[in-house]
C-alpha cells in the first residue's frame, strides 16, 4: 500500500486566494515527518518516493523547443493582419477549421489539428536575463531557493528511464558541455548535458590508443579514488559525479547518435542549423532520453523584425512540422510531450528600426503529444493583439499542465530540499484543463 501523503488539494485551480497557498506549519511538519519515515531527506529529494518509482517506469518523454530571444506571436501563432500593429504578412487557413496562423508557417498550418495552441499567455518579465530562467523554472513563488529548469525537474521527477542515457539533454548551437546550473536546488546531478553544434560532448569517445582492458583498469582506479573521496562526505556529491559519469558512458556506447544524418532526414527537417538540431533531438528521444531541449537562437528581432521573421520562420516551420510528424509516424508522439515556446512575445508597437521589442503581456505557446488535447486553440487576444482578452494563463499554469500531461500530479508531488517540502509548480496556479486530454 502506498503511503498517503496528500499535502495539497487536488482541485485544479486557476485563481486562488493567497491564503490558500501559504505552506502551513502543519503541512511542513507533516511533510518532514513523512520524509523522515521514508528515509528521504537531504538535497533535492522527493516527498513521495514511490511516486518517483512509478514515474521512472513511465515511458513518457519531453521535447522542449526553446525559441530563444522571443518569437513574435503576431508573425506566427496569433496574426492580426490588416491592423495597426499587425505587420505586413497575411494569415492562412490551417487544418483546424476557423483557425488561421501566419503565412510564414504553411507547413505548420497543415498539422494544426495535431497541436494545442494557447494564445492567452501572460507573464511578467520583459527582459531576457529575468525571463529566460524564470520562465524555464515555471516562475515559482519565491521560497529562497533556486528552482530547477523544466528539464531538470523532469529528470528528477521521472528519472532516466531504462535507457541509462542522461535524462536531460540540451541540443544547441554553440558550445556543449555539462550545464549544472539548470538544476537549481536539485543539485548538479540533474543538470543538462549540452550537445553543441551537433558534436558529441568533448572527450566522449575513447581515444584509439586506449583499449578495452586499459580502460577497465582505469575505471577500477577511478572507482577506488571515488570511494576514498566519498568516505565521510555527503553522498549526494559523489552520487552526482558517478551518475553523470555513468550516463556519459552510456552515451559513449551509442555513437550512432552522432553519425552523419540520413540525407532523406536532412531534406525533411531542412538543411539548417535548427533542422540539424531537431534531427539530433529526435534521435535522442528515439534512444530513450527522457527530456530533450532543442534551442534556436537569433529571435531577438528588435531590428528588422519582419525580414527577420520572413527568414527565421520557414526554418522553424519546416523543422517543427518535420519532428511532430516524424514522432507521430514512429508511434512516439503519444508518449512524448512536445512544447515550443520563447521567454516572451514581441511588442505590437513597431519601432523605428522596423523591429518589435519584448512583450510578456500577450503571447502564445504551442504544444502537442502525450496528455495534450489535439486540435484546440484557447486564450484570446483583443483585435489588435495587445492584451489577452479571455482565458489568460501564466507560466505556472503551464508547468502544472505539462506535469499533468506527463502523469505527475502536481497537487500531490513535492520536492524535499533539506527537509523543506517545495511544490513542483507555482501553488497559485493549476493545470489548464482545456489543453489536457
Amino acid at each position: 500500500m502506498k503511503p498517503k501523503i496528500n499535502l495539497h488539494s487536488s482541485v485544479s485551480k486557476q485563481l486562488c486566494t493567497p491564503a490558500q497557498h501559504v505552506l502551513s506549519r502543519r503541512r511542513l511538519l507533516g511533510a518532514t515527518a513523512a520524509s523522515g519515515l521514508l528515509g528521504m531527506d537531504g538535497l533535492g529529494g522527493l516527498v513521495h518516493p514511490l511516486v518517483a518509482d512509478e514515474l521512472s517506469q513511465s515511458n513518457k518523454q519531453v521535447l522542449f523547443i526553446w525559441i530563444d530571444g522571443g518569437m513574435s506571436q503576431l508573425e506566427s501563432w496569433d496574426p492580426k493582419p490588416n491592423t495597426k500593429f499587425g505587420g505586413p504578412f497575411r494569415s492562412i487557413q490551417t487544418s483546424l477549421p476557423g483557425v488561421r496562423i501566419s503565412e510564414l508557417m504553411p507547413k505548420t498550418a497543415e498539422i494544426m489539428h495535431l497541436l494545442a495552441l494557447d494564445r492567452g499567455v501572460t507573464t511578467v518579465d520583459n527582459s531576457h536575463s529575468a525571463g529566460v530562467p524564470r520562465i524555464q523554472r515555471g516562475d515559482p513563488k519565491d521560497r529562497g531557493v533556486i528552482y530547477p529548469y523544466f528539464g531538470s525537474a523532469v529528470a528528477k521527477l521521472m528519472g532516466q528511464g531504462n535507457s541509462q542515457l542522461p535524462p536531460y539533454i540540451w541540443v544547441k548551437p554553440g558550445s556543449g558541455g555539462f550545464k549544472y546550473q539548470d538544476a537549481g536546488f536539485l543539485g548538479p546531478r540533474y543538470g543538462a548535458l549540452a550537445i553543441g553544434d551537433g558534436q558529441p560532448p568533448p572527450n566522449l569517445l575513447l581515444p584509439e590508443t586506449l583499449n578495452h582492458d586499459d580502460n577497465s583498469s582505469r575505471n577500477r582506479l577511478r572507482n577506488f579514488a571515488n570511494a576514498q573521496y566519498a568516505a565521510g562526505r555527503n553522498p549526494i556529491f559523489g552520487e552526482a559525479q558517478s551518475f553523470v559519469f555513468d550516463s556519459a558512458q552510456a552515451l559513449m556506447n551509442r555513437q550512432a547518435l552522432f553519425a552523419d544524418p540520413d540525407p532523406a532526414d536532412v531534406e525533411l527537417y531542412g538543411d539548417t542549423e535548427l533542422g540539424r538540431d531537431m534531427l539530433i533531438g529526435r534521435k535522442m528521444l528515439e534512444a530513450g532520453v527522457r527530456f530533450v531541449k532543442v534551442n534556436s537562437y537569433g529571435w531577438d528581432t528588435h531590428g528588422d523584425n519582419f525580414n527577420g521573421h520572413a527568414s527565421l520562420m520557414p526554418r522553424f516551420d519546416q523543422s517543427f512540422t518535420a519532428i511532430v510528424l516524424d514522432l507521430q509516424q514512429r508511434g512516439m508522439l503519444d508518449n512524448t510531450l512536445v512544447v515550443a515556446m520563447s521567454e516572451f512575445g514581441r511588442t505590437p508597437r513597431i519601432n523605428g528600426h522596423v523591429g518589435r521589442d519584448h512583450w510578456p503581456e500577450a503571447w502564445s505557446i504551442v504544444m502537442t503529444g502525450t496528455g495534450i488535447r489535439r486540435g484546440v486553440v484557447i486564450g484570446e487576444t483583443n483585435k489588435t493583439g495587445i492584451f489577452v482578452e479571455n482565458d489568460a494563463h501564466d507560466i505556472g499554469d503551464f508547468f502544472h499542465t505539462w506535469f499533468s500531461a506527463l502523469g505527475i500530479d502536481s497537487s500531490k508531488t513535492e520536492y524535499l530540499n533539506n527537509g523543506q517540502p517545495l511544490p513542483i509548480a507555482h501553488d497559485e496556479c493549476g493545470p489548464i484543463k482545456g489543453l489536457l486530454t
Binding site: 490588416n82 495597426k84 520583459n126 542549423e273 528600426h353 521589442d357 519584448h358
Partner: protein, 361 residues
C-alpha cells in the same frame, strides 16, 4: 562645397507611414501606411491637412510609383496586391487592381520613362511587367533565387534592373525575357545563424546613366539587425565596381533610399537602431581611398533625424521630403499613455530645401 538645409515644414501623421513620394505634378505628397491605405497631402496652398485616404490594399503599402504624365499612382502591398488609382479629387478612383499580382510581399515598383509599362517585384522571387493602362501582365522575369527587394529603370535605355535579398543585381533584357548581366553586391548580405540579413534595399542611376548605385548595409549580425550603411556603385557598361563607401557606424544599419538632387549630389537616408537616422548628401565624384569617407565626399550629414525610411525629391528638383519615425519609438513591455491607452509610433515627414555654398574651410 558645403550644403546647408532648411526645414520648410513638418507633416505629422498620426501613425507610421512608409515611402512618402511627391507626385510628378508636384501637387500631392503620397505615402503608404501599415493598414492597407495610401495617404495624401496637398502640396499646393498653405494647408497640409490630410486628404481622403486611398483604399483597396491590404497589409503594408510601401511600393509606390507614378505615371510620368498622367495622374496615376501605382501602389503595391505586402499581400502581393498591385493597384492603380487616379490620385486627384476628393474620392480617388481605382483604375485597376490586381489583388494577387505577386505571391506575397510586393516590395518595389518602377515605372518606365514613357509611362506605358511598370515593373514590380517581391517575395515570390519574380520581377513582373505590366501595362500601366490596364494592369495586364505582360512579362514574368525569372532568375532571382530569393526575394527581390528593389528595382530601377535606366532613364535613357529603359533597361530594367532588380536587386535581391542576397545582394544579387540582375540587368534584364526585356525583349528576350532574359538576364543580360549580373552585378555582385553580396557585400550587402549575411546569413547569420538562422537569418538572412541585408539585401539590396534601394538602387538609383546616376544622372548621366553611367553608374548604378545600390544601397543597403554591410551586415554584422541578425536578430536585432546591425550593420554599417553601405553604398556600392557599378559602372553600368562593364559592371565593374567603381564606388564602395560606408556611411556611419554599426548601429546606423540600412541605407533605405537614395535619389540624386538636381545639384548633383546623391541624397541618401539611413535608419538603424531606434532613434538613429542620417540624411546624407554625397559627392560621388570626389575621390577618397577605398572604404573611406572623405569630408569632400560628404558635404552634408544630418544625424539628428530619427530613423529615416524614405526620401523623395520634389519635381522642382530642389525641395525634398524625408519620412522618419518618432523619437523614443522603442521599449520593452507595457507603455501606456496617461489615459491608459497603448500607443503606437508615428512618422514625422520633413519637407526640406538645400542651399549649396563654397566650403568655409
Amino acid at each position: 562645397m558645403a550644403v546647408t538645409l532648411e526645414t520648410i515644414e513638418t507633416i505629422t501623421p498620426t501613425a507610421q507611414r512608409l515611402s512618402a513620394r511627391f507626385t510628378p505634378c508636384g501637387d500631392y505628397l503620397i505615402a503608404g501606411g501599415f493598414e492597407g491605405l495610401l495617404h495624401r497631402w496637398p502640396m499646393t496652398g498653405d494647408q497640409r491637412t490630410e486628404l481622403a485616404v486611398i483604399k483597396g490594399h491590404h497589409g503594408w503599402v510601401a511600393a509606390i510609383g507614378f505615371h510620368p504624365t498622367e495622374s496615376k499612382v501605382f501602389s503595391g502591398d505586402s499581400w502581393g496586391g498591385l493597384a492603380c488609382h487616379d490620385y486627384r479629387g476628393d474620392n480617388p478612383l481605382t483604375l485597376w487592381n490586381r489583388e494577387s499580382a505577386h505571391d506575397g510581399w510586393l516590395r518595389a515598383i518602377a515605372v518606365g520613362a514613357d509611362g506605358s509599362w511598370l515593373a514590380s517585384c517581391g517575395k515570390d522571387y519574380n520581377v513582373q511587367c505590366w501595362k500601366t493602362k490596364n494592369g495586364k501582365l505582360t512579362q514574368r522575369l525569372e532568375g532571382h533565387k530569393t526575394d527581390v527587394y528593389s528595382l530601377a529603370v535606366h532613364a535613357e535605355t529603359q533597361t530594367l534592373v532588380s536587386g535581391d535579398a542576397h545582394g544579387e543585381v540582375i540587368v534584364w533584357n526585356r525583349k528576350k525575357g532574359t538576364s543580360d548581366k549580373r552585378f555582385d553586391a553580396s557585400e550587402l548580405f549575411l546569413q547569420h545563424r538562422l537569418q538572412d540579413v541585408g539585401g539590396v534595399k534601394c538602387m538609383v542611376f546616376s544622372p548621366d546613366g553611367k553608374t548604378l548605385y545600390v544601397g543597403g548595409t554591410r551586415p554584422k549580425g541578425g536578430g536585432n539587425v546591425q550593420g554599417v550603411p553601405l553604398i556600392i556603385g557599378f559602372d553600368w557598361n562593364s559592371g565593374i565596381e567603381v564606388f564602395n563607401r560606408e556611411f556611419g557606424a554599426v548601429g546606423d544599419v540600412y541605407v533605405h533610399e537614395m535619389q540624386f538632387h538636381n545639384n548633383g549630389y546623391l541624397m541618401a537616408v539611413t535608419s538603424g537602431n531606434p532613434g538613429t537616422g542620417q540624411l546624407l548628401f554625397i559627392d560621388t565624384n570626389a575621390v577618397a581611398g577605398e572604404g573611406e569617407t572623405a569630408k569632400s565626399e560628404l558635404p552634408y550629414r544630418n544625424n539628428k533625424l530619427s530613423n529615416c525610411h524614405s526620401i523623395s525629391l520634389h519635381p522642382d528638383g530642389d525641395q525634398f521630403a524625408v519620412t522618419t519615425t518618432s523619437k523614443g519609438s522603442n521599449g520593452n513591455g507595457r507603455r501606456l499613455d496617461k489615459d491608459g491607452n497603448y500607443v503606437g509610433n508615428h512618422s514625422p515627414i520633413y519637407l526640406m530645401q538645400p542651399s549649396v555654398s563654397a566650403d568655409q574651410e
